[in-house]
């Protein structure tokens, strides 16, 4: 079953300066559950909506491979171009996170599920009702629920209705955007099981978006990890959990609390410094590098990093001001009370020492100039690492570490004892 059903190519969605989805590419195979995991602000929900063209993409292409008529051979349709979008919509649907707001409170269940069927003129009258009842039964509800309003139902029941509505038109592809995050654990379990059953019965392909790694483990075949609008790793589920390639995936997994109290792991968790980067103002180069244990010279150190460093380590002793003139050029000058020369000396000392200690932040400094009493620091300009296939077939990672080392060396070293050039600066 390895035909491709969904293709995303260099997809971008920018909301002004906020790069919610920043050049994302991946392929989904027919029949699989493709997981998309990440923390808040990583853009996964936006991505889910953009690929169905519910939100207009800024750039990029999305293709679906399907057949629109009975008996036709499946061909590739360009969703982003909008060709035959209305018909294509029957093939791809979405289930949202919040069951309360995704169902129209003024419509009874029969109409909520019936709406898509009516719009696409699938059936009318009694035949329509039969189909709806059938759908209800498939999601574990009863005929009596036809006449209810959504507010009369529990969270789990509402989500079942949302699912029924999504499969009403017999789609091939479903985007599930955190479908169980708003539900209690015991209800989550039932809905996840239902989703698995439906996938099997109706031959569905899922894009499963969530922040919960255990759900990823339970539901997904392959997983993409997102960080600040970019996919940093795509792997088969088992491989991801056992041997995460990207440092962020590693940190994410290590931060997971164990559910077995006799096997606690938290104390050994890899604690990431700093906060999740903001998509409105992301770091230069690799967006994860300021927090990365393994970051080295290639990772895109720049103005923001040095400015933060100065503020934290020097801010209390001396008053400096720094202005970022672009990501790789920092200008430093003393605030009114300080004298120029000592600062000058201090900064060059700092840089020299940093280079000596092989701290990547300083190793990446290309030049240091003194112009009119202000110090200009120039960093090497590095770009973001690309998502490429590394280590073995079908595994993708976007990390300069892997670009620097050959596949063999990586396997040799074992990712866990990877090149730890430079501890936390």
């Amino acid at each position: 079953m390895s035909e491709i059903i969904f293709e995303v190519e260099h997809l971008k969605k920018y909301f002004g300066p906020v790069k919610a989805v920043d050049d994302v590419s991946f392929k989904i195979r027919k029949g699989e559950t493709f997981g998309l995991v990440g923390e808040s602000g990583c853009g996964k929900s936006t991505l889910g909506r953009v690929i169905l063209k519910l939100i207009e993409p800024t750039e990029g292409k999305v293709y679906i491979h399907t057949s629109l008529r009975e008996g036709e051979r499946p061909r590739r349709y360009d969703i982003t171009a909008g060709e035959r979008l209305r018909e294509l919509r029957r093939k791809m649907q979405i289930v949202y996170q919040d069951p309360a707001s995704s169902l129209n409170p003024r419509m009874i269940i029969r109409d909520i599920i019936g709406e898509p069927l009516k719009v696409h003129k699938v059936a009318k009258g009694e035949k329509l009702q039969d189909i709806i009842v059938d759908l209800l039964k498939h999601v574990g509800m009863q005929e009596e629920h036809l006449w209810r309003y959504s507010y009369e139902l529990s969270g789990g029941q509402r989500q079942r209705i949302a699912i029924a509505r999504a499969i009403a038109l017999n789609p091939e592809f479903l985007v599930l955007d955190e479908p169980t995050s708003a539900l209690d654990v015991s209800v989550q379990a039932k809905i996840l099981k239902l989703l698995k059953d439906l996938q099997r019965d109706f031959n569905l392909t899922y894009l499963f978006i969530t922040h919960d790694m255990s759900i990823i483990d339970y539901m997904c075949d392959r997983v993409a990890v997102m960080y600040v609008g970019k996919i940093v790793e795509i792997s088969e589920k088992e491989l991801l959990f056992n041997e995460p390639l990207h440092p962020y995936s590693k940190a994410l997994l290590s931060a997971l609390p164990s559910k077995d109290p006799s096997k606690r792991t938290l104390a050994r968790a890899e604690i990431l410094s700093g906060e999740v980067a903001s998509p409105a103002n992301p770091p230069a180069g690799c967006k994860f590098h300021p927090r990365c244990k393994y970051a080295f010279i290639e990772c895109g150190w720049g103005s923001d990093d040095l400015a933060t460093y100065l503020r934290e380590y020097m801010g209390e002793k001396v008053s400096l001001k720094a202005a970022a003139k672009g990501s790789f050029h920092l200008e430093i000058w003393p605030s009114a009370r300080e004298v120029i020369n000592p600062i000058n000396v201090m900064i060059s000392d700092l840089v020299a020492k940093g280079k000596e200690q092989k701290k990547p932040l300083f190793e990446a400094i290309d030049g240091l100039k003194n112009v009119d009493g202000r110090i200009h620091i120039y960093f090497m300009e590095k770009s973001e690492p690309e998502l490429v296939e590394r280590v073995c077939k079908d595994r993708y990672v976007a990390c300069s570490l892997y670009e620097a080392l050959s596949d063999q060396k990586i396997l040799q070293k074992g990712i866990h004892q990877s090149t730890k050039k430079g501890e936390d600066t």
């Binding site: 039932k190 959990f241 997971l256 609390p257 077995d260 109290p261 006799s262 938290l266």
Partner: protein, 385 residues
């Protein structure tokens, strides 16, 4: 280092005992019977988790300890005894104010909305210090004056010393209104601010001196949660109640916060009561856990006992709904829905959904029976009538 003296733990009794707590909410449609006879004992210096799904009453239980309930909450009966003292449910508002923030403090769920948006973060931490350690702050303020000798220092010092000895004197009332003289009030505040920077540092806040001057909207969610924790710690309470402390933050931030809480429990000899729906959190940092369902306690025991060897059918159902990474087994939910507490099931409230329900389950509520050491269950399967 902070100047506040460490709490010296007193006798080895249970730090908190909730006995037979029945609590209702009066709503338009009738009475919601939220708590139906809660019995809970918290040991000193332990980390106790209270776990349950929507509507189980865990947050209400936590809030009722400090009596931070809505106006329509009515305690039908029950006692909450803190450190062997009086029943907190009968305590006066004044007594409660002395305990809140000082002996028992609370960390809330939503860091976004739980901080005063128009007050600097450092000041919000300092507030508690000034309230409960006013005298210490004044003394520190005096020290500040002696060290830095600002203008009018002798006068201010004099007034501050008077405030320690005669807090309500007329002289003070007048002095606090006169423009330049009333500046004496800023010294204790300054002392409290400095102290709050130290506390922020203790909870792992980077650049605490800068952050203390920030407003809540300038900080990220994780940082705001740390501020809440700092506020709770400020007066070195004996018991900290954390209501879903990590539900609103990312996994990576959650790990940091959990480690911080774990630290608190171990090092500072503080008792922690963690309210959560997340079993992972409980498994990682709790010593014991209490499982609640629909206003009743299902099971109580050590984390290993309850999570790995659950006795109560609900707990078992719960554990089977949770997926452990690497596990190949199928998930199973629990049949049915959480009951509406306007008209809850009689007897054991779980019986309509229980596979092992017997006739007695709907008639009478089971007692809390200790099955083996420390592991107690509320279930007729384990006891005879």
């Amino acid at each position: 280092m902070t100047i506040i003296q460490e709490q010296i733990p007193s006798q080895d009794e249970k730090i908190l005992v909730i006995k037979n707590l029945y609590l209702n909410f009066g709503v338009y449609q009738g009475t919601v019977k939220v708590l139906d006879g809660i019995d809970l004992e918290v040991e000193r210096a332990e980390v106790l988790g209270v776990v349950g799904e929507t509507g189980c009453g865990k947050t209400v239980t936590a809030r009722s300890i400090l009596r931070l309930l809505e106006a329509n909450a009515i305690v039908e009966k029950g006692e909450i005894i803190f450190e062997g003292g009086q029943n907190m449910l009968n305590a006066s508002e004044k007594d409660l104010e002395k305990i809140r923030g000082r002996k028992i403090s609370m960390i809330f769920q939503e860091p976004m909305t739980s901080l005063n948006p128009t007050m600097r973060v450092g000041d919000q931490v300092a507030e508690g210090l000034l309230l409960h350690f006013g005298e210490d702050m004044i003394k520190k303020g005096v020290e500040l004056i002696e060290k830095e000798k600002p203008p009018l220092s002798a006068l201010h010092k004099n007034i501050l010393e008077r405030e320690i000895n005669k807090p309500n004197s007329l002289v003070l009332k007048i002095a606090s209104r006169i423009p330049f003289i009333k500046r004496y009030q800023q010294y204790p505040k300054l002392a409290a601010r400095r102290e709050s920077v130290e506390i922020l540092r203790m909870v792992g806040m980077p650049s605490p001196d800068r952050i203390a001057l920030a407003y809540p909207h300038e900080l990220s969610g994780g940082m705001r949660q740390r501020v809440l924790i700092a506020m709770a710690l400020a007066c070195k309470p004996d018991l900290i109640i954390a209501d879903e402390p990590t539900s609103a933050v990312d996994v990576t931030t959650q790990a940091k916060i959990l480690l911080l809480l774990l630290n608190l429990g171990e090092q500072k000899n503080t008792t922690l009561l963690i309210i959560t729906h997340n079993i992972g959190v409980v498994a990682e940092i709790c010593d014991r856990v209490c499982v609640m369902y629909a206003g009743q306690i299902a099971e109580v025991g050590s984390v290993i006992d309850v999570i790995n060897h659950p006795l109560h059918p609900y707990t078992r159902g719960l554990m089977r709904s949770i997926h452990n990474i690497g596990d190949k087994s199928e998930l199973e939910g629990i049949e049915g829905n959480v009951p509406i507490l306007l008209s809850p099931p009689t007897g054991c409230r779980f019986h309509p959904r229980c596979q092992h329900a017997m006739s007695i389950c709907s008639k009478k509520k089971p007692e809390l029976k200790e099955i083996h050491k420390g592991h107690k269950v509320h279930c007729w399967m384990y006891q005879k009538e």
